[in-house]
């Protein structure tokens, strides 16, 4: 008995009971489709986040206060160790294109009888360069405004839309933030939503000294964004910043740094870890449904073996060996699983495509998720098909022939 014969016998077994076979396959189809959809949604999210992070420019370093372990803790800003002078010192290092300190606070902005709550970002004119963000009207504030802690503000488009009547040019207008009267000197060109969905245009930029002295009464900065001249020099600049700040903050020997330097690469890595975890979580949930589908296969195969006891007895009487019978049922369950698996892959890919088309979520189907599902369904076929097949093969032909339903 050769393999092709074996395969045909198994196929005939499947064809002989179409409804039952397709219901059995349904479990595998749903399981595999779920795995494909979940992985593609997870991979899509991950791909979008990494695309956005890398589009922000890869030669950026972020210096945050506190011994941060990652971007989240580093940004907490509970430790106030970075100062404007640190930023100036960093800007003086070699291979550094610019160092821009930031300090922000939330505040309500009032123009005539309109109010709007937004984020007030204290920064320096270098911000415009580092973020590559031009003004659409007016101009950015200058270094002298930072020197003198002037009451000048550059508005994001969302703030303008919410405070000023349509068609008015806000440049030159006076707005009040925390009872301080600011003169609007420029409006930033619209930039759109950032990676985590927040509106980047919903912000007001003012000289950092104004926030420090006039609004918060502090001397520290929340973060310093550093742009290096080339991407290759990032590691070098990161080390120089660390050496410089340890010296400036008098940290010697094994004492822990009171600041941390992060590159976008490490932010990217952290984000990828997070989305990777999410993908694994989603895929595991989907894998459970695949497992349930596999148990369904075993269940049906067991019923099928009992139902076909007489057939098995007859096959044995006309010369089928135990391994012939074992192979017949094993091939049957593997074929069920593989056909179910491929149908599931197609269904899953179609649903993933529909999700990105109609719900706007990015999905990304990877070869690896397809191979994983195909391999997994074949393994399920063998694993859950083996016991029923073994049961069939070990039947006694005399008993089996005498079996009555």
């Amino acid at each position: 008995m050769n393999f092709i014969n074996n395969f045909e016998v198994a196929l005939n077994g499947i064809k002989a009971n179409k409804l039952r076979s397709s219901l059995t396959m349904l479990g595998i189809i749903i399981g595999v489709a779920a795995v494909i959809i979940m992985i593609s949604v997870g991979q899509g999210a991950s791909k979008r986040i990494s695309d956005q992070i890398s589009s922000m420019g890869s030669n950026l370093l972020m210096v945050s206060p506190g011994a941060g372990q990652g971007p989240v803790r580093g940004a907490s800003g509970n430790v106030n160790t970075l100062t404007l002078e640190d930023a100036e010192a960093i800007a003086g290092l070699s291979m550094v294109a610019g160092a821009v300190p930031e300090l922000n606070t939330g505040a309500t902005i009032v123009y005539e009888n309109q109010t709007w709550t937004s984020q007030i970002n204290g920064t320096t004119p270098g911000m415009q360069v580092i973020k590559d963000w031009p003004v659409s009207s007016g101009s950015y504030f200058g270094d002298d405004d930072v020197q003198s802690a002037s009451l000048v503000a550059v508005l994001g488009q969302t703030v303008v839309d919410n405070l000023f009547p349509p068609g008015t040019d806000p440049v030159g207008a006076t707005i009040r933030i925390n009872k301080l009267a600011f003169t609007v000197v420029g409006v930033l060109s619209p930039k759109g939503a950032a990676m985590m969905g927040q509106d980047q245009d919903d912000a007001v930029y003012v000289p950092i000294t104004t926030v420090q002295k006039r609004m918060l009464g502090v001397n520290n900065v929340r973060t310093i964004n550093v742009q290096t001249e080339t991407q290759d020099s990032m590691a070098y600049v990161q080390t120089s910043i660390e050496e410089l700040l340890r010296e400036r903050h008098r940290i010697t020997g094994s004492k822990t740094d009171d600041f941390s330097v992060l590159s976008l690469t490490s932010v990217l890595e952290a984000a990828e870890t997070a989305t990777g975890t999410m993908t694994i979580l989603l895929a595991s949930i989907a894998a459970i449904s695949l497992l349930v589908g596999g148990i369904g296969i075993m269940n049906i195969m067991l019923v099928s073996v009992t139902e076909r006891t007489k057939e098995i007895g007859l096959r044995m009487a006309v010369g089928a060996t135990e391994s012939n019978i074992l192979n017949q049922f094993l091939v049957e369950s593997v074929v069920l699983c593989l056909v179910g698996g491929f149908t599931g892959i197609i269904t899953g890919a179609a649903v993933a495509w529909a999700i990105s088309k109609f719900a706007g979520w990015p999905t990304y189907i990877t070869l690896y998720s397809i191979l994983l599902s195909a391999g997994f369904s074949a393994a399920i076929g063998i694993f859950f098909g083996y016991y029923p097949a073994k049961k069939a093969a070990s039947l006694d032909p005399i008993e089996a022939l005498r079996f009555e339903k």
Binding site: N5, N12, K310, A317, A320, E322, S323, P397
Partner: protein
């Protein structure tokens, strides 16, 4: 009756262990059956005739004693070897036909050839030949459920002979058929040994059926109590010709 020995049983015993009790199904059978014989095995239920048939059919192994099939000692062969022997040398005909329901007549007859590893073309040719021999050439693509009992049993006979066995074992082959159809089936079985020289062993409890055989073996309590030639054996084809022309048969 001459020719070489097909079956030689030497003091064959079969003991079943049912929990605490031992059941002696066969208590020492000595039997020789030569090529081209047509033997009826009779006995009441519990006489051991099914056990004897199972052992002769290589479906079961004797507890003690030796079984030579075509001169080969097959009494203690491994299960896979026995499956080979059943495939190559033995054909089975059952009371309940045992055809695969959702499979065509042609595919049913091909079944033993699948396990013999025959090529596709060869399988189809030989199955058609066997079906033509039992007179069912027009039913190749029919399903068993579309056929009468007599026709189904003829499909089963075609399946039994498709692999050119030296021995055909029939377990109550007419047990599910009416008397006229029974004679039709006996006519086909008689042709097996008359035309093809195949040794046929029929287990039956009907005296009329045993009349179509040439030798009668009676079993009781696991022993052979009688082994005689059949006096005035009948010819099924002649009996059939003498019967009024009606019913389903169309050989």
């Amino acid at each position: 009756m001459s020719g070489k020995t097909v079956i030689l049983l030497e003091n064959v015993k079969k003991i079943y262990q049912l929990g605490e009790t031992r059941v002696f199904a066969l208590k020492g059978i000595n039997l020789t059956i030569r090529e081209g014989e047509m033997v009826a095995v009779m006995g009441s239920s519990g006489s051991g005739k099914s056990t004897l048939l199972n052992i002769m059919g290589c479906l079961d192994r004797p507890t003690a004693g030796i079984y030579y099939l075509d001169g080969e000692n097959v009494s203690q062969l491994a299960k896979s070897r026995l499956a080979r022997i059943r495939n190559k040398r033995i054909g089975f005909v059952f009371q309940g036909f045992n055809l695969l329901g959702r499979t065509t007549v042609l595919a049913n007859v091909q079944l033993p050839l699948i396990y013999a590893g025959a090529g596709k073309k060869e399988m189809a040719e030989r199955a058609k030949e066997a079906l033509a021999w039992v007179g069912l050439s027009d039913y190749l693509e029919h399903y068993p459920s579309q056929m009468s009992g007599g026709q189904q049993q003829r499909v089963a006979i075609a399946r039994a002979l498709v692999n050119n066995p030296s021995l055909i074992l029939a377990d109550e082959p007419t047990g599910s058929l009416d008397s006229k159809t029974s004679i039709e089936i006996m006519a086909v079985i008689q042709r097996l040994y008359l035309e093809k020289g195949i040794t046929v062993i029929i287990v039956t409890h009907e005296r009329e059926i045993s009349q179509y055989c040439r030798r009668l073996i009676k079993l009781k309590d696991g022993r052979i109590t009688e082994d005689t030639p059949v006096m005035n054996p009948r010819n099924a084809a002649e009996d059939l010709a003498a019967m009024p022309d009606e019913g389903e048969g169309q050989i």
